[in-house]
Amino acid sequence: MSKRPITVSVDRLLRKRDAPAPRKLPADERSCPKCQTHWTSDEMRRNMRVCASCGHHFPAGARERLDQLSGGAPWVELWPELRASDPLQFVDLEPYPDRVEKAEAAGSNEALVVAEIPIGGHDCIAAIMDFSFLGGSMGSVVGEKLARACDRCVERNLPLVVITASGGARMQEGVIALMQMAKTVVAFDLMYDAELPVIVVLVHPTTGGVWASFASLGDVTYAEPGALIAFSGPRVIEQTTREKLPPEFGRAETQLANGQVDDVVDRRELPARIGKVLGILDRPSGMDPAPAVTMARAGAERAANAARTLPDLSRRVVSKVLRSDEKGGR
């Protein structure tokens, strides 16, 4: 796919503008909705955006989560150059490109950030969703980044750690967004062949097409306390079936009882828990890869090539949306 001669990325520019965004947003300073304790943004950040009084888990951005997971050790973001396009030239209450632009302006480049990162001393690839970017919705960029993340894991023999937060498929990309569900399942299937572990952490909220695809397919699955985990959200269910749902409906603790997750883990314990699991599943290096692993490597390479040879579709879209970028003066 052709790269346009733009030399500075949108999020880079934005970071310069509001530095040190996204570390400190005004919204960070607030009182806990559960116990009303007031926290400064610094206190929030130091406690991983968990209320130290009552344990309420506030939303956290993808990059902040990477810092949490690595314990401050450096990590390297992968493929930040992938950005949403507008294949359907979609307009609802506003045009899709405008929505994307606003979301990018708020400091993220997409609803999924992928990075190479050490967690508890174990190198891995982390794929972290960001609910603040269009509700963490899964469009083509999320699908492609997750697929590349798995390819990279297979190439480098690394485990994958995924944190999900999503309202579901990104409707503005229509059926193409729907297909990202299948694409992520394909990606995890390469991990299966390569015998590489996948740890999934479900955070509030993980719903719709994300819960109904890769988020359900981790080898080990944790959920943050209070996270809503459901295919259909409570409102849709109440409207359709006229049921009155209890407040605990679909919450992490309920889903643990339902057998859907392995444990509910406090965010502050996540890095250690993930590190422990990675340690247990770590393989002695220098082992001959099983035939399945070799197959998976070939598959990852082929898949990556296949994706690159695609679409007049995306070409069309590239030009279209870049025009809107230009319009925005960048």
Partner: protein
């Protein structure tokens, strides 16, 4: 010129018209949606009774229950024994209620997986017939793992050694449809639709007004022609003039021909090749931009220029 050939010619012209030039109008799309949902439109059991003189429906997921919103079984037709699975909506009120309007719970998808396991054991091709407004939104379905059931159904289909064909015969909405759609070939009937969500659902969320369904439909462009153009559908299957509801026999005959042809192509491939192509097929779908990301700091420190470093460097 035979009737069939003439019809075929008409279909090609219709499809070319839809594919060519300007996008379909909102009215045309809305009309297709009405056809896709027409209550006289053939449902899976209508196709099955015509394409598989011998068919045995199988019931139950062996775990919790039997979901009438999905029919599944083994049948023997022109191309030998096959496993057939489909969303069944129900034609009259009683049957619609019984079949939950074709909205499956986890038991439905798990029944599908159970029957796919039989296909795998017996080396039978799998045909799925997709026609659903979506998976059922209910608290029981959620408690029993609706999301995981859909995910694992896709995973199961992706791993099948046997050939598989999905046909969108009516409306294919949301993950509830795609759960049966991860196959070697995806066909769409001429007047079927495939969409991330039903127009009503999309309208309620994006327009905050379910009455804006027509606007949503116009925006989603969920027609077979568009899905074909986008590479979501591999084949568009012609319907009898006026729509499949006008002539179930002819609709089944046309579909049967397309299935036979595709099945012959697929059976010429090895299981490993089919699986590989199936993976690549879905791996490839997506529309995104790549913008150039210059990061002099990162480059200076020897990091891949297509990457950005976190707070550790001075660039943050």
């Amino acid at each position: 010129m035979s009737v069939a050939a003439r019809r075929g010619g008409q279909f090609v012209r219709r499809l070319a018209h839809r594919l060519g030039g300007s996008p379909e109008t909102g009215s045309a799309i809305w009309e297709t949606i009405q056809l896709a949902r027409h209550q006289d439109r053939p449902y899976p059991l209508d196709y099955i009774s015509r394409l598989f003189p011998d068919f045995e429906e199988l019931h139950g997921d062996r775990l919790y229950g039997d979901d009438p919103a999905i029919v599944a079984g083994i049948g023997r037709g022109a191309d030998g024994p096959m496993v057939v699975i489909g969303h069944q909506k129900g034609r009259d009120t009683a049957e619609r209620t019984y079949r939950n309007f074709g909205m499956p719970g986890p038991e439905g998808y798990r029944k599908a997986m159970r029957v796919m396991a039989l296909a795998e054991k017996m080396d039978l091709p799998v045909i799925t017939l997709i026609d659903t407004p979506g998976a059922f939104p209910g608290s029981g379905a959620e408690e029993r793992g609706q999301g995981g059931a859909i995910a694992r159904s896709m995973q199961t289909m992706l791993r099948l050694r046997v050939p598989s064909i999905a046909v969108v015969i009516g409306e294919g909405s949301s993950g509830g449809a795609l759960a049966l759609g991860v196959t070697d070939r995806v066909m769409m009937l001429e007047n079927s639709t495939y969409s991330v969500i039903s127009p009503e659902g999309g309208a309620a969320i994006l327009w905050r007004d379910a009455a804006k369904a027509k606007d949503a439909a116009t925006a989603f462009q969920p027609t077979a022609a568009n899905c074909y153009r986008w590479g979501i559908a591999d084949v568009v299957v012609p319907e009898p003039a006026g729509g499949a509801h006008r002539d179930h026999d002819e609709a089944a005959r046309l579909l049967g021909g397309y299935i036979s042809r595709a099945m012959r192509e697929l059976q010429a491939l090895s299981p490993a090749d089919r699986r590989r192509q199936r993976r690549d097929r879905y791996r490839r779908i997506g529309a995104y931009r790549e913008v150039a990301v210059a990061d002099p700091t990162a480059m200076a420190s020897g990091v891949d220029p297509a990457s950005t470093a976190n707070g550790a460097g001075p660039a943050a």
